[in-house]
C-alpha cells in the first residue's frame, strides 16, 4: 500500500467524518438541551433524504438547491415531534429514560412503516446532480465533488451553529435552559418553546445531512438504521451533550472507518469504530469532550 493510497483513503474518511459529525450534531444538541436521546434520529435522516429525492423528482431541484428546503421541512417536523410526542414523554415521573427510548423508538418504527407504505420499499437514487460524477484534484488527491461539497456544508453548518449558540439571544436561552430548565421560567423564557426550537434546530441539521447524502447514497425506508448507530457512537465518543464533541467525534469516526477499511475486509469496517468507542469510554467514561 503506497502512501498516496493511504492519504487518499484518509481524505475520503475525513470527508465522510465531517458528514457523520453533521448527522450526529442534531442528536447531541437535543441531548445536551434536555437529556433526551432521539431513537428515531436515523429515520429523521431517511425522511430528509426522501424530501430531497422528491424535490428532485417533482421540481427538478438539485440537492444543493433543495438543501435549505429539506432543512426547513425537518425543522418543522422536529418541532412537531417535540410538541406531539416528546413533550408528553418528558412528563413521565418513573422510568423516564426508558419511556423516552421507547416513545422515540416507536416513532422510528412508524416512520419506517409510513415510508414503506407511501414511498414503497424500492431503492431510489438521484441519477444526475450538478456535482455527480465530478472529481476535484487537490495536490494529487482525487476527491469526489459531492462529498467535498458535503464536507464544506458540514463545516459551514458547524460554524453557523457556533455563532448561533455563542453569539445570539436564542443561543443564550438554549444554554440557560440546558443549565436549569426550571429556573429559566423565572426570567420569562418559555421552556417548551426553547425545547421545540431545539428539536427543530437539531432536526434541521440532520435534514441538511440528509440532503447531502441523498445525492450519493441509495434512498430506502431502512436507510436510517445503519447511520443511526454510527450517530449514537459519534455523539457518545465526543461526549453526550457536547455539540463540538460531535464534530470531533464525527471526524474521528470517519478516519477510523477509513483506516479499518484498509486493514480489515470492508464488511468489518464498522468493527474499528466500535472498538475505538469502547477504548475511548474505557479511559474516558464521559467521552472525549463530555463534562456532565
Amino acid at each position: 500500500m503506497t502512501a498516496a493510497i493511504i492519504i487518499q483513503s484518509l481524505a475520503s474518511g475525513l470527508l465522510m467524518g465531517l458528514l457523520y459529525g453533521l448527522i450526529a450534531v442534531g442528536l447531541a444538541l437535543i441531548f445536551g438541551l434536555m437529556d433526551v436521546t432521539n431513537f428515531a434520529h436515523g429515520e429523521f435522516l431517511m425522511f430528509a433524504m426522501y424530501v430531497t429525492f422528491f424535490c428532485f423528482t417533482f421540481f427538478a431541484l438539485d440537492p444543493l438547491l433543495s438543501a435549505p428546503i429539506t432543512a426547513a421541512v425537518l425543522f418543522a417536523f422536529g418541532a412537531m415531534v417535540y410538541m406531539l410526542i416528546v413533550r408528553f414523554a418528558m412528563r413521565a415521573k418513573t422510568n423516564v429514560g426508558m419511556v423516552q427510548i421507547f416513545a422515540t423508538f416507536g416513532l422510528a418504527i412508524v416512520m419506517r412503516g409510513l415510508a414503506q407504505l407511501l414511498f414503497t420499499p424500492d431503492y431510489r437514487s438521484i441519477p444526475t446532480t450538478w456535482l455527480g460524477g465530478k472529481t476535484v484534484e487537490i495536490a494529487g488527491i482525487y476527491l469526489p465533488a459531492p462529498q467535498l461539497a458535503g464536507g464544506a456544508v458540514s463545516i459551514l453548518a458547524f460554524g453557523l451553529l457556533w455563532v448561533l449558540i455563542k453569539r445570539t439571544d436564542f443561543g443564550k436561552a438554549l444554554e440557560a435552559t440546558r443549565e436549569d430548565a426550571g429556573a429559566v421560567a423565572l426570567v420569562g423564557i418559555d421552556r417548551n418553546k426553547v425545547f421545540a426550537l431545539g428539536w427543530g434546530l437539531g432536526s434541521a441539521l440532520v435534514g441538511l445531512a440528509g440532503a447531502i447524502m441523498a445525492s450519493f447514497f441509495y434512498i430506502y425506508p431502512d436507510v436510517g438504521a445503519s447511520f443511526a448507530l454510527i450517530a449514537y457512537v459519534t455523539v457518545a465518543l465526543g461526549g453526550f451533550g457536547s455539540v463540538f464533541g460531535a464534530f470531533a467525534g464525527g471526524i474521528v469516526v470517519g478516519l477510523v472507518e477509513a483506516t479499518t477499511a484498509m486493514i480489515l475486509p470492508p464488511s468489518l469496517k464498522a468493527v474499528g469504530i466500535y472498538a475505538v468507542y469502547l477504548l475511548v469510554v474505557f479511559f474516558r467514561p464521559r467521552g472525549l469532550f463530555g463534562s456532565i
Partner: protein, 326 residues
C-alpha cells in the same frame, strides 16, 4: 409493610404463578392448530427472555440493549457443538449459557463503570461487533448460517420436526423457571443489593453494597438464562444465521415486554409478552403480507401509546388500584 404481610404477599404471588402455569399448560388441550401454537411458543419464549433481561435491566437498573449477543451465543454454541462435534443440544444449551455468562462478565468488567447512555450504547456496540464477527466467521457458517440436520423426533436430540407440542412444554418450563428465579431473587440478598444499586449506587456503596460485583452477578445470570432461550430458539427454528439470532431487534424485543409490562417487576415481563407478542404476530400475519408497512405503523403506534400512557408499565394499573384500596 410488616414482615407477615410481606411473606403472605410472596406466598400469594407463588400461588398465582402456579395457577397460571397449570392453566397455560392446559392450553394445548383446546388449541390444535399450528399457527396458534407457534404464537404461544413465541410468547412464552419472550416472557422467559424478557424475565432474564429484567434481572439486569430491571432489578439492577443496567439498561442493556445488547442482549441479542447472549441470545445468539446460546443459539450458535449449541448448534455448532451439535453439527461439528455431535454434542447433544442439552449439553450445548448449558455450554452456551456458560459461555454467554463468561462473555457478560468480560463485557461487564469493561463497561459497568459507564453510566446512562454511555453504557446503553456500549452494549449495542458490543452486540453489533458480535454480529459482524459471526457474519464473517466462515467456520461458523458466516452469512449463510447453519442448518440443523433433521434426525428424528425425540427428547434426546431435543428435535421435533412434526409435532411442535414438546417445544411448547419446554419453553413453558423455561418461562416458569426464569419467573421462579426472579421470585426467589426478590427476597434475597442479591435482590436487595440490585435494587439498591439501581436506585442510588453511591448510597448503596456507602452502606457496604458491593456495587460492581452486584452488577457482575446480575449480568452473568441474565446472560446465562438468555443464552438458554437462544439455544431453544435454534432447535425450534432448526436454522440459524447471524441475522436471525443476533440482530438489534432481538435486544429490543427482549427489553420491550419488561418495559411495557413494568420494568423491574415480577409480573411485568410476563404481562408485557402476553400482550405484545401475540399482537406483533397477528399484525404481521394480517397486515404484514402486503409488504406495505402497515404492520409496522400499528406496532410502532402501540409502543408509543403504551410508553406515553403508562410510563411505569401496565403493572402500574394493579399497584395503583391496590394502593387506593388500602
Amino acid at each position: 409493610m410488616s414482615t407477615n404481610a410481606f411473606t403472605a404477599r410472596r406466598k400469594r404471588q407463588l400461588a398465582i404463578g402456579l395457577v397460571i402455569l397449570v392453566l397455560v399448560a392446559c392450553l394445548p388441550l383446546g388449541i390444535t392448530d399450528v399457527y396458534t401454537l407457534n404464537i404461544l411458543i413465541l410468547t412464552l419464549m419472550y416472557a422467559g427472555l424478557s424475565q432474564s433481561w429484567n434481572i439486569l435491566g430491571g432489578y439492577c437498573g443496567q439498561l442493556s440493549l445488547g442482549h441479542a449477543l447472549y441470545f445468539g451465543l446460546g443459539a450458535y454454541t449449541s448448534t455448532l457443538l451439535y453439527t461439528k462435534a455431535g454434542v447433544l443440544p442439552w449439553f450445548g444449551m448449558i455450554a452456551g449459557g456458560i459461555i454467554a455468562g463468561i462473555i457478560a462478565l468480560i463485557i461487564g468488567r469493561a463497561c459497568f463503570k459507564l453510566a446512562g447512555h454511555y453504557y446503553v450504547i456500549a452494549t449495542i456496540v458490543v452486540a453489533e461487533t458480535g454480529l459482524l464477527l459471526f457474519h464473517n466467521w466462515t467456520w461458523a457458517g458466516a452469512a449463510t448460517g447453519i442448518e440443523l440436520p433433521i434426525r428424528q423426533d425425540s427428547w434426546l436430540y431435543f428435535q421435533f420436526a412434526r409435532n411442535k407440542l414438546p417445544y411448547f412444554y419446554f419453553v413453558l418450563v423455561f418461562a416458569a423457571l426464569t419467573w421462579l428465579i426472579t421470585w426467589k431473587i426478590e427476597n434475597s440478598k442479591w435482590g436487595y443489593w440490585w435494587r439498591a444499586v439501581k436506585d442510588n449506587p453511591e448510597a448503596a456503596e456507602s452502606l457496604g453494597v458491593q456495587v460492581f460485583n452486584s452488577k457482575m452477578a446480575a449480568a452473568a445470570l441474565s446472560a446465562f438464562l438468555t443464552a438458554i432461550g437462544g439455544a431453544f430458539y435454534a432447535q425450534f427454528v432448526a436454522y440459524i444465521d447471524p441475522e436471525s439470532v443476533m440482530i438489534f431487534q432481538f435486544s429490543l424485543l427482549m427489553a420491550l415486554p419488561a418495559v411495557l409490562g413494568g420494568i423491574g417487576t415480577l409480573w411485568g415481563p410476563v404481562l408485557g409478552a402476553a400482550i405484545l407478542i401475540p399482537l406483533t404476530e397477528l399484525t404481521r400475519t394480517f397486515m404484514g403480507g402486503s409488504g406495505k408497512g402497515i404492520d409496522l405503523i400499528v406496532y410502532g403506534c402501540l409502543i408509543m401509546a403504551i410508553a406515553l400512557a403508562r410510563p411505569d408499565g401496565l403493572m402500574g394499573l394493579f399497584t395503583r388500584r391496590k394502593r387506593s384500596a388500602a
